[in-house]
């Protein structure tokens, strides 16, 4: 078996002049949950459809558990479960009949089919809805039904395109719970979403895609702790005494920017990520008689981190979409924890 559940190498997909996927490369290890993040039209769905063997790449290759999706689509389909971003349900068909149809289509017969349907319905909490018409379900129930459908053949890899879109908070929590349980069972989950905070909570790694290119691959913690677009880091400082003293002090300091006052202190921005510089700043505060009772680095939210990555890319002159190189010129896979220059 391959080391990676999903391997994408130098993948391109063009639709006429539109470069939907523009030379992406990444690997996702077995049993991990990877979030796929990007704006609308960034190339997420196209890349996911190629992985699901529903579309084919213009160039490059993609593998699921070491099996090439273009050359061996039938084998790949046995390994993956697919949840599309939007789909309709059938008229005049109950939840049970819906699952029964897909179980039949997947080749289950007789008692085995019934047993598999029961297991999936129990897992997705659909037992009480078995006789309800599938087109009369709420969005959350529909997503659970779709997840149940994609789990019928017990796939090793789940590819989920925006599964949380349009869900209410309760349904979102339920879906998140199910994904966590699946991750614990050792399934590899590749999930796209716009809700970065939720992805951050449940994903082992995050892939950011922009204009068809991977712009970051790393875990959410490293993103939260990364510097902003200008290379600065935010600190929360709490004082024992007059909080005004912090702003008065910060104005006189080089490389420090006072951002906002708080009840007992404020937020400052130090223009470097270097922790020794932060230690120097703290030492200076104490030396200048500021009675510091708390000094800690603030974690950024993932949305800010994503926007900063995009801002960095826009600053960079090199980030101009160019025609693809020949297949021989393979760019390396983006290592985890790094953004592309």
């Amino acid at each position: 078996m391959s080391d990676s559940a999903i391997t994408v190498h130098n993948l391109y997909r063009f639709f006429g002049p539109l470069q939907a996927v523009n030379g992406i490369s990444f690997e996702i290890p077995h049993g991990s949950v990877c979030g796929f993040v990007g704006a609308n039209g960034a190339g997420k769905t196209t890349a996911m459809r190629i992985l699901a063997s529903l579309d084919y790449p213009t160039m490059g290759h993609a593998e699921i558990c070491g099996i090439n999706v273009v050359h061996h689509p039938a084998e790949v389909r046995r390994l993956i479960g697919w949840m599309p971003d939007h789909f309709g349900n059938y008229d005049n068909m109950t939840v049970l009949e819906y699952l029964d149809f897909y179980a039949r289509a997947l080749g289950y017969k007789g008692a085995e089919r019934r047993q598999r349907i029961d297991e999936v319905m129990e897992f997705t909490d659909l037992v009480s809805l078995a006789d309800r018409f599938s087109n009369k379900l709420s969005k959350g129930m529909t997503q659970r039904l779709c997840l149940g459908r994609s789990l019928l053949h017990d796939p090793q890899v789940l590819i989920m395109d925006e599964p949380a879109a349009g869900l209410d908070p309760k349904a979102r929590v339920e879906l998140k719970h199910l994904i966590r349980v699946l991750a614990k069972e050792g399934k590899t989950i590749f999930i796209s979403s716009h809700i970065l905070s939720e992805l951050g909570e449940m994903c082992d790694s995050l892939l950011f895609i922009n204009n068809g290119r991977i712009v970051h691959h790393g875990d959410s913690e490293s993103l939260k702790r990364s510097s902003d677009a200008l290379g600065g880091v935010l600190y929360d400082v709490q004082l024992d005494g007059d909080p005004q003293a912090l702003s008065d002090w910060a104005i006189l300091q080089p490389n420090i920017e006072f951002l906002e006052s708080r009840k007992t202190g404020g937020r400052i921005r130090i223009d470097t990520e270097d922790p020794t510089k932060a230690a120097d700043v703290l030492a200076r505060m104490i030396r200048d008689n500021l009675r510091v009772i708390d000094f800690h680095r603030e974690q950024r939210n993932l949305e800010d981190a994503f926007i900063d990555i995009l801002a960095n890319l826009e600053k960079d002159q090199n980030f101009i979409p160019v025609p693809p190189p020949l297949p021989a010129a393979n760019p390396p896979a983006v290592p985890q924890g790094q953004a592309l220059p």
């Binding site: 084919y56 050359h71 309709g88 005049n92 039949r104 779709c146």
Partner: protein
Amino acid sequence: MHLSDFPDRLSPMLVKELRQGLRSRSFIAVFLTLQAVLGIILLTASAAATSDHAGSSISNIIFSFFSIAVLIIQPLRGIGALSSEVKENTIDMMVLTRLSAWRIVTGKWSAIVSQSALILVTIIPYLILRYFFGGMNLLGEIVLLGLIFFTSATLTAITVGLSASASVILRSVLPVVGLPIGGYILMVFLTYQSGISELVEYCALEKKESWIGLPLFLAASTYIGFFFLSAGTSLIATYAENHSTLRRLISLVVASGAAVVCSMSSVTDPYIAIGVFAVILAPIFAISLTEFAPLVSPAYQKFVKYGSLGKLAGLFLFPGWPSGVFFCVILTGISFVPFLMNHPSYNTKEFYATGLACLGTLLFPAVVINLLRMQGPHRVSHYVLFGIASCIFAVVLAGISESMSSRDFLWLFIWLPPVILTMQTISAFDDSMLLMAAGIVDVGLFCLLLILAQHSYRASIGEIKKSLPDHEHPTAQ
């Protein structure tokens, strides 16, 4: 909760469609209305059954209502069969199972045909009752019933196949307008007193023509139905499925068979020969010349593993329109065999000009969409629409020429093959000139297609060779 309503041996698609279809309002409405109407009519007729013609009148009524139900309403239900799955994004979920696109399409088709069969079965008691009114041609009426059912299955195949098209015009307007017009013609025929009797007599298989006509009709219907289902299959299939090769091989066998039959002088009317080849060539030309199927390794490797012979076969049978053009050249050659055998009935300039103009009419839309570089899986819809538009344009030109003193301006549009067909209907034009023009136009269209196809074919072969990993590359074996 119960799931034992359908056995495992039935196709999953058929089970799904039957579960949905038997609950659908449209089927329930048709079914109940038909039962109610036939029941009332039979009761009324039996109460007033004094005339000698009561039996045949009841037959007329039964066949009329049955025809409306299975020749109009049931086929119309197929229009949304695949488009709704595509629109709702459920087709992707289906093709990721073990269901092939062909099984999905035939499942949709067979579910509607099964419901038509259910309607057929339920009118049998009325026919048994009608037997007691006398004057029944039992064999003729049973064969006619089967013929109507078979035609219904073909029409359903057409609408189900069309339902995969993205073109709203093609998907909706043709069946929605076409079927009621057909229905009207049918109604006129059925209400014409001797119409149904003549048809029953024809179906009684007492005349020699019936033994030729009915099998020919069934063969043509089967062929057309297969091609529409096959076209629908290609439109919803994922890139990994190759439906082109089988389709082309079937048309090759059918065209070869027709060429042999026509060469052996069985068909003496040249226009019947043209009609036969038009039915055979039109669907395969429409699909092969427009097919937007990327050549990917699963299909490619199945051919190249047979070496040079496989590669040569691939030139004509690979999925995609470039090989489709090469295949159509072969098919055209086969279709010309009976005419080149110098059959005396076929040996007229007018006939050759008509044949070549018909061929050009099939080629012209393909040249347009390939020159315009139209992409996407729905090129076949554009092909049909361009074909219809060019024919309409030719008819309009012919209409204008009727109102003008000189008709020579039609030569300006001679590059449009349907115009040659309309010019033939006007006696002012010399057949030799028209024959020469049709020949030049056809050669020109074929040359254009071949140039475009050759370029595209080489590019796709080059791309696939690059994409293959070293150990899967045929030259590495």
